[in-house]
């Protein structure tokens, strides 16, 4: 029963990773860039939600929506100002720019907000669901987190597969040149991708902070790296891959903490990633790379 409880905790943490990883993977799929500032966009979302809840006393749902709107705008603005001029540049230049954006957001947040320690208020009733005569208890927060992740995943899949914009996105990720010839406005699609990816990052931020309530300007960096790992784990560019990768990463991390060692859990997570990539060099659900000779 303890195992089951760890598993559920892992799925909960994994859900947060998965939501962040979805943003990572969408941006990678369309813009072919590693947006290292993604975790920091999430951090901004956490702070916006915090102020909405604490300083303005807004209801939880309103705060979450406000925070998502804020990160959506932030994502679009960053893309316009920093990444768009680099469309033709080498991927390393874009990577360094993303790192610059990451520094900028972290230090900006430091200047604006970090004079005092901030504790995220609890947003979900603290009770828990008891199963098997109380042997297994699942907190409402866990349930909400997992549900939110599944909802995001379902919505995204429907959006990508059923809507015209979603189809345009898939076209852009296959071949931008051909997409342009088909009359698709590639710049608009990239903007939309950044908007969606950044928007759901705020949701992840709220869920993460509900579990680990201390706010700091660097709160996005480690989950950011983990989510990036999750995205690669599942096959970067693949939406189901990010979902699967995120969940697995969360489970592995919690199980490693429970059964092996808390201090070594990160090392174990990364070791599993390496093993997976050695067996499947493009991740669990990634496309096989092949070069025509």
């Amino acid at each position: 029963m303890a195992f089951l409880s760890y598993l559920i905790n892992g799925l909960s943490l994994g859900s947060v990773y998965a939501i962040i990883a979805l943003g990572y993977t969408m941006v990678y799929g369309i813009a072919k860039m590693l947006n290292f500032a993604h975790g920091d966009i999430m951090m901004v979302g956490a702070f916006v939600a915090f102020f909405a809840l604490n300083s303005f006393g807004l209801p939880v749902v309103v705060s979450v929506i406000l925070s998502m709107l804020a990160t959506t705008c932030l994502g679009v603005v960053i893309e316009r100002l920093a990444y768009k001029p680099l469309r033709q540049a080498s991927s390393l230049s874009v990577l360094i720019t993303a790192i610059g954006v990451s520094y900028f957001l972290q230090n900006g947040a430091q200047l604006l907000w970090s004079s005092s320690t901030k504790v995220f208020p609890s947003i979900i009733a603290s009770g828990s669901l008891r199963l098997f005569g109380g042997a297994l208890s699942i907190s409402y927060l866990t349930l909400v987190t997992i549900t939110a992740c599944i909802a995001v995943m379902v919505c995204l899949t429907l959006f990508i597969n059923k809507t015209k914009t979603g189809m345009a996105m898939r076209a852009c990720s296959e071949d931008k040149g051909a997409a342009t010839l088909m009359g698709i406005n590639v710049n608009r699609i990239i903007s939309i991708t950044f908007a969606i990816g950044s928007g759901i990052a705020a949701l992840a931020a709220v869920l993460l902070c509900a579990t680990y309530p201390t706010l700091s300007p660097t709160l996005g960096s480690m989950p950011g790296i983990k989510a990036f790992t999750a995205a690669v784990f599942g096959g970067i560019g693949s939406i189901p891959g990010a979902f699967l990768g995120g969940l697995m990463l969360g489970v592995i991390e919690i199980l490693a903490k429970a059964y092996v060692s808390t201090q070594l859990s990160d090392a174990i997570v990364f070791a599993v990633l390496i093993i997976v990539l050695l067996i499947k060099p493009t991740g669990l659900l990634g496309k096989k790379l092949s070069e025509k000779v």
Partner: protein, 361 residues
């Protein structure tokens, strides 16, 4: 910073010129700084940066061989530095009574730091170099994090019975006269600070000789061939895996040497110092200096280490401005108009390969 092309283009005609410029920068810089030190005109803040700057340059030169010349993105350079640093600290600590001379101990520590990092580079390289592109990059990141995490859980002490190890929990009970060398997350404390600026400069010169002479040899050409066209390289009989391994191992070795020097420059050093951010920092030096451009790497490292210090007057805003400068430089250097302007400037002044670096200043 699309220097790949211009750099390789200059390989043939400007072989010796570019190398000479690199060496001149280091030697002239060294003499200037020694003069400033002798006349007491260097603030203690700048003095404290001297050794770290030489370490960063050596690690960045190695990384440029890996990222610029070999074309594989490596996000784990800090891991190799970390290994070199703590190896160096252990070696120096263990030999402190046997070899009282700090300089000799430092040299031994650097050599062993380079050696162990190279060996680890080889071991890691076997799986890493089977992957390509961003997948390879994330695995180097993963290894970097694993190394950090392992050293963070390592307890090493020395007593008359020899080295004592413990993992995850500190179970060491040292015999009288023993001392802790690495104490898990607390890292190394009470290290003898034997690193010197002069040794750092010599290390840079050695790194330059290794990197340049390698590039202008059979192996260096093969490394670039594998970067430019893997299939064509195989078709002329080049073992791509072995060739990429060479670049990876040399890069790791230089990072290890740099790490050993770095570690022996501080009395206390925590393993968390060598995190992902440090790897990224060194990568930034390399990319801004120009891929494959060693002179550029030296200049951009010096400028970027000094920049936050020079911005210190701006207090809290300095890191924010640093970030903006980073973004603006990347955008400008990829702007067609700026590129044209630079090449025009280049023709007029015929400054050779340092043009981008000059523009950075």
């Amino acid at each position: 910073m699309k220097n790949k092309k211009s750099f390789v283009g200059n390989l043939f005609s400007r072989t010796y010129r570019s190398r000479t410029i690199s060496f001149l920068i280091i030697i002239v810089g060294y003499i200037l700084i020694e003069l400033l030190l002798k006349t007491g005109n260097l603030s203690s803040m700048f003095q404290s940066l001297l050794v770290p700057v030489t370490c960063y340059i050596v690690a960045a030169l190695g990384l440029n061989l890996n990222v610029g010349v070999s074309g594989e993105l490596n996000l784990g350079q800090a891991g190799f530095m970390s290994l070199g640093a703590f190896m160096g600290i252990c070696v120096s600590g263990a030999l402190s009574s046997a070899i009282p001379n700090g300089l000799i101990r430092l040299v031994i520590a650097i050599v062993l730091g380079a050696l162990i990092a190279s060996v680890l580079g080889f071991v890691i390289g076997v799986p890493v170099l089977k992957l390509q592109g961003d997948y390879l990059a994330i695995v180097t990141l993963a290894f970097g994090e694993i190394i950090k995490s392992l050293i963070n859980n390592m307890y090493v002490g020395i007593d008359p019975n020899g080295f004592q190890f413990s993992f995850v929990e500190n179970k060491l009970s040292l015999a009288p006269g023993g001392k802790m060398l690495i104490s898990g997350p607390m890292g190394a404390t009470g290290t003898n600070r034997i690193a010197t600026f002069s040794v750092g400069v010599v290390l840079i010169l050695i790194a330059l000789v290794i990197v340049y002479n390698l590039i202008y040899s059979r192996s260096g050409r093969a490394i670039q061939a594998c970067r430019d066209n893997r299939i064509a390289a195989e078709s002329v009989g080049i073992h791509v895996a072995n060739t990429k391994m060479l670049a990876f191992v040399v890069s790791a070795g230089l990072a290890g040497a740099a790490g050993a020097l770095y570690g022996l420059n501080y009395s206390t050093l925590i393993p968390a110092k060598f995190d992902f951010n440090l790897s990224i920092l060194i990568l930034v030096y390399v990319v801004l200096g120009g891929l494959g451009n060693m002179t550029g790497t030296i200049i951009s490292t010096i400028v970027l280490v000094l920049l936050p210090e020079l911005l210190r007057g701006l207090q809290d805003y300095r890191m924010l401005i640093y970030a903006v400068i980073l973004i603006v430089m990347m955008i400008l250097s990829n702007n067609e108009k700026v590129k044209n302007l630079l090449s025009l400037l280049h023709q007029k002044l015929s400054f050779g390969k340092t043009k981008e670096a000059e523009a950075n200043e």
